[in-house]
């Protein structure tokens, strides 16, 4: 009798394991990007389970904090694979962390849908053979290409806008230098009359700075170099901690380029309330204003606010939601947990995302499964982030030239 009970229990446990779809997420939870992405993932899982789960099974989400440290991020993958025994990996933010995770992901070769890590170095590390790897965030070079498409469209719609001389102030870490390198590569092509910036970018200069996030915060030397160069388009690629101090110091030295662009992964709290922010352009995958033009963005916004009593503040929130929903749509379409069937399904589905746009997989330079390929061009106007391009999602007209500092 006792033996029968043990066998029955073992069966129940085994069935129990088989009847749950386990997703393992690795995110930097102390950072707002990771925290909100984690919240959005929980929201997606809740909605899925309330709707009856997928393939008749509930979805279980395990979230591990990578603390933005490569060694912790790599250990998190190992832990999720061996302790929680997850079926899928999701998450991601930092490229540096992801570089350490890639060898571990290759060891397990589970289906991985990653929303972070924009650096081309991660794509090189993944290589062309990882058909189980899906990367949703645009690679840095894809972002650069999409900005070119955006600026070209803007110059056509607004003929007074000129984008010939570009200056890039970039933070000296992996994020900033890889962003600048992407522009340099594109500039080399443009000089030969090829590439996406051909005929648009005539000259490019750049200088690094130490981000406030890493103990820097004095940008005046770089801004002085930019001022002397007098660019049509000025871009700074740093972190949210740099956003306001750069504006203050640009005002201080009287540097007001016609297009003042910021390209951090997130923006500081209340940036829009700062009078210096009016007219600042930003690149981003998402803006809160999208909820006024996209029903799925509206659904996500309302559900997130209701669930967590806070507003989504970075694009990692709708991207985290997309991360789970896209994977689940793939499982649904595959109709089983067979790895090859899910990979095939994920390559075929089209998911209307709250990030703004339809997510569809296509190859990038090296990997086979790249998701989003473009960022959006947004502009802070009276405290609100508006979409300027793509024009199908446009929520306001472009303010040009940058209004400068008078009266601020």
């Amino acid at each position: 009798m006792k033996r029968l009970f043990v066998v029955l229990m073992a069966l129940v446990v085994a069935l129990g394991f088989a009847s749950t779809i386990k997703i393992g997420a690795v995110l930097p939870l102390s950072d707002i990007t990771g925290r909100q992405a984690a919240n959005a993932m929980k929201l997606a899982v809740k909605e899925i389970n309330e709707a009856g789960g997928v393939l008749g099974m509930p979805v279980e989400l395990f979230i591990v904090d990578d603390e933005m440290k490569p060694e912790k991020g790599a250990a998190a993958i190992d832990r999720l694979a061996t302790v929680e025994k997850v079926d899928f990996f999701v998450g991601g933010m930092s490229s540096g962390v992801h570089l350490a995770q890639i060898p571990i992901l290759k060891k397990y070769q589970k289906i991985t849908v990653w929303i972070g890590a924009a650096s081309y170095r991660c794509e090189e590390a993944i290589g062309p053979d990882a058909d189980w790897y899906f990367h949703l965030h645009p690679w840095d070079y894809l972002q650069g290409e999409s900005y070119a498409h955006g600026w070209r469209a803007i110059t056509q719609k607004y003929p007074q806008v000129k984008i010939e001389k570009i200056f890039i102030a970039y933070e000296e870490g992996a994020f900033g230098t890889s962003s600048f390198k992407s522009y340099q590569d594109e500039f080399e092509l443009a000089k030969k009359g090829t590439g996406v910036w051909a005929g648009l970018m005539k000259d490019l200069k750049g200088a690094p700075f130490k981000s406030a996030a890493l103990g820097g915060g004095d940008y005046r030397a770089v801004l002085m170099q930019a001022k002397q160069y007098n660019p049509d388009l000025f871009i700074w690629a740093g972190y949210d901690a740099d956003a306001i101090p750069i504006l203050i110091q640009a005002k201080e030295i009287g540097f007001a380029p016609k297009l003042f662009v910021g390209a951090p992964p997130g923006w500081p709290a209340d940036f829009g309330k700062n009078p210096l922010s009016h007219g600042v352009i930003l690149y981003g995958m998402w803006a809160p204003a999208l909820k006024d033009v996209s029903p799925i963005a509206r659904h996500f916004w309302d559900a997130y606010v209701k669930e967590f009593n806070e507003e989504p503040a970075t694009y990692f929130a709708p991207l985290g939601y997309t991360n789970i929903m896209f994977l689940i749509e793939g499982i649904k379409k595959a109709g089983s947990l067979d790895k090859d069937a899910i990979i095939k399904a994920l390559r075929e589905i089209e998911y209307d995302s709250p990030v703004g746009g339809v997510l569809k997989i296509s190859p990038s330079r090296i990997i086979k499964n790249q998701g989003f390929r473009a960022q959006k061009i947004l502009q802070w106007q009276n405290g609100v982030q508006h979409v300027i391009w793509p024009f199908e999602y446009q929520t306001a007209e472009l303010i040009y030239p940058f209004p400068g500092w008078t009266g601020k």
Binding site: S30, D31, I32, R35, E172, A207, P208, F209, K210, A212, A213, L214, G215, G217, D218, R220, A221, V222, M224, Q225, D240, A241, D242, A243, I244, P245, I248, Q249, K251, E252, I253, G254, G266, P268, A269, D270, F271, N274, P275, L276, A313, W405, K408
Partner: protein, 304 residues
């Protein structure tokens, strides 16, 4: 002595040339260097004079940034007025940290103090992270981004407040240490705590007072910095390293040397940053100058 004199002459010529060739770098260097000095002086006071280590020094600065932010956003208090509130508050906070952590490890190995204050720094960062999240906050006041004309060179005017503040704090500290009984007692405790106790000095009080005073002075630096820096849990952390570096460069207990070292390093940093193509070398130059100064001083001492 002669070697020192030659060294100072070379330094003066170098600074003059930088001022002539790159006036922006010179003025910005003076400003940043003054900030480094202003933040480092309290650390130099507790480390150099009474021999207490505090690895949470930068986090004290972070706390004062948040206090200033809170006063500005909740009650509209101007950051330049806020030291009236933040200095006493941080003074009290310093006293609490001293009583809870420092006092208990005074008679143990220095390593204990190092580890304990490192623990305090982690607790402070994580607490701020939980309370405020990692998202940067900012205080905007228009006067923090105004410019002034100095001999035809337009430079930011606000950061000269760091220079004024560092001179005032240095003067105040020197007067306190040399002209008051408590200041003399502080020196005595730093040099020989047992001897000081034997002659009737309340050693525990001196330690508590100096540690709290240092925390209060950090609040002053925090108020001035708050309108120029983003405020986030790790904002003050890097200043611990810079402050230790300046203390090492100037020599323990040499408070005027801290200010001079800060300004020299600030100018060196800004000079490198002003050269197109070499902007990223600023950190390297910072530590090269630091090591050179320490080596120079070591040779000078050996000759002496």
């Amino acid at each position: 002595m002669k070697r020192n004199f030659v060294g100072y002459v070379v330094l003066a010529i170098a600074l003059f040339l930088i001022a002539l060739l790159r006036p922006y770098a010179f003025f910005y260097g003076v400003q940043r260097g003054s900030l480094y000095g202003l933040v480092a002086l309290p650390l130099a006071l507790i480390l150099g004079i009474v021999g207490l280590l505090n690895l949470a020094h930068g986090e004290f600065l972070t706390l004062s940034l948040y206090m200033t932010y809170l006063l500005f956003t909740k009650w509209g208090m101007d950051p330049l007025v806020s030291p009236a509130v933040t200095v006493p508050l941080l003074l009290a906070f310093g006293f609490v940290v001293y009583k809870l952590v420092i006092e208990r490890s005074l008679k143990t190995h220095h390593l204990n103090l190092l580890l304990l204050t490192f623990g305090v720094s982690i607790v402070m960062v994580e607490s701020l992270n939980i309370w405020w999240t990692s998202r940067p906050r900012n205080i905007y006041v228009p006067y923090a981004s105004t410019s002034v004309n100095i001999f035809g060179v337009y430079v930011g005017g606000y950061e000269f407040l760091y220079t004024i503040a560092v001179v005032l704090v240095l003067t105040g500290l020197l007067l306190f240490l040399k002209k008051t009984r408590l200041g003399q007692a502080t020196y005595a405790v730093g040099q020989n705590p047992k001897g000081a106790a034997i002659v009737g000095i309340n050693v525990k009080f001196v330690y508590a007072f100096v540690f709290s005073l240092a925390a209060g002075l950090v609040a002053l630096a925090g108020a001035l910095l708050s309108v120029r820096s983003s405020i986030f849990p790790q904002a003050g952390g890097p200043f611990t390293m810079k402050s230790f570096s300046l203390t090492a460069m100037a020599g323990l207990g040499n408070l005027p040397g801290i200010v001079l070292a800060g300004i020299v390093l600030g100018i060196a940093e800004e000079f490198v940053k002003s050269i197109p193509g070499y902007t990223g070398w600023a950190d390297l130059v910072f530590f090269v100058v630091l090591i050179a100064a320490i080596v120079f001083r070591a040779f000078g001492r050996r000759e002496g």
